[in-house]
């Protein structure tokens, strides 16, 4: 079963907050944007730890390969 979740809060003033949970990397932005576009115009966005985590992991893998093959 997927651990990927989306929390949506629709305020009494109609403002919508879309929050992704467990979706790592840039895909979390794609998922949130797809939901947000249904209701209106994006006012602000915040990228948090999980988004950057995927980028850091990818960079670590590249560094590992570079070291393994003595490319540095």
């Amino acid at each position: 079963m997927s651990d990927e979740e989306i929390e949506i809060e629709i305020g009494a003033d109609g403002k919508v907050v879309v929050r992704t949970i467990g979706i790592k990397g840039p895909r979390c932005v794609d998922v949130a944007e797809a939901i947000a576009q249904v209701v209106g115009r994006e006012e602000s966005r915040q990228l948090t730890d999980e988004y950057h985590e995927a980028g850091v992991q990818a960079m670590a893998r590249v560094e590992q390969r570079v070291r393994r093959f003595g490319l540095d």
Binding site: M1, S2, E4, E5, I6, E7, I8, E9, I10, G11, A12, D13, G14, K15, V16, V17, V18, R19, T20, I21, G22, I23, K24, C28, V29, V31, A32, E33, I35, A36, V38, V39, G40, R41, E42, E43, S44, R45, Q46, L47, T48, D49, E50, Y51
Partner: protein, 154 residues
């Protein structure tokens, strides 16, 4: 935590769809549809009637539904709220009430408009989530009347 987007709603819909959102919103706030403005208890009042108008810039009532009356009148406690389509095709709300200040009526109108936007967003989102085959695992209304939905992405 990964991404948080804040979105302001754009109400773009045909009048029948929008009037469904208006009806759902105003019903939850205790308003009832007024059959005709002449029958309204507000009109029967002797006090001078104040009036406030709110135009929703971020709205567009799409053409179509020919023959439908693009106007909806609701009432509660002597307050009359008239939703209609303005000349530019945007949604307009006019709030009237005897013995009320213009600022008070504007505040009432803004609360109504907010709840209409909320209902519109709710129905758009629920349709989209179902189309995307997402599983709704929680849905509740908070003390602040905000709707909280939690879905699982497949």
């Amino acid at each position: 935590m990964s991404t948080v987007l804040v979105v302001s709603p754009l109400l773009v819909a045909s009048w029948p769809l929008l009037s469904a959102a208006i009806t759902a919103a105003v019903s939850s706030m205790g308003y009832a549809t007024a059959r005709a403005m002449q029958d309204s208890s507000v009109r029967a009042g002797q006090k001078a009637t104040a009036r406030a108008e709110i135009e929703l810039e971020d709205s567009e009532i799409l053409a179509g539904g020919a023959g439908t009356d693009e106007r909806l009148v609701v009432e509660r406690d002597g307050i009359l709220a008239i939703f209609s389509r303005d000349a530019r095709g945007a949604l307009k709300l006019c709030v009237e009430g005897a013995g009320r200040s213009k600022a008070e009526l504007k505040q009432i109108g803004e609360a109504l408009v907010g709840r209409v936007a909320q209902q519109y967003a709710y129905h758009r989102l629920m349709t989209e989530l179902k189309d995307r085959d997402m599983t709704i695992i929680e849905e509740r209304v908070g003390a602040d009347q905000a709707i909280h939905i939690r879905v699982r992405n497949r």
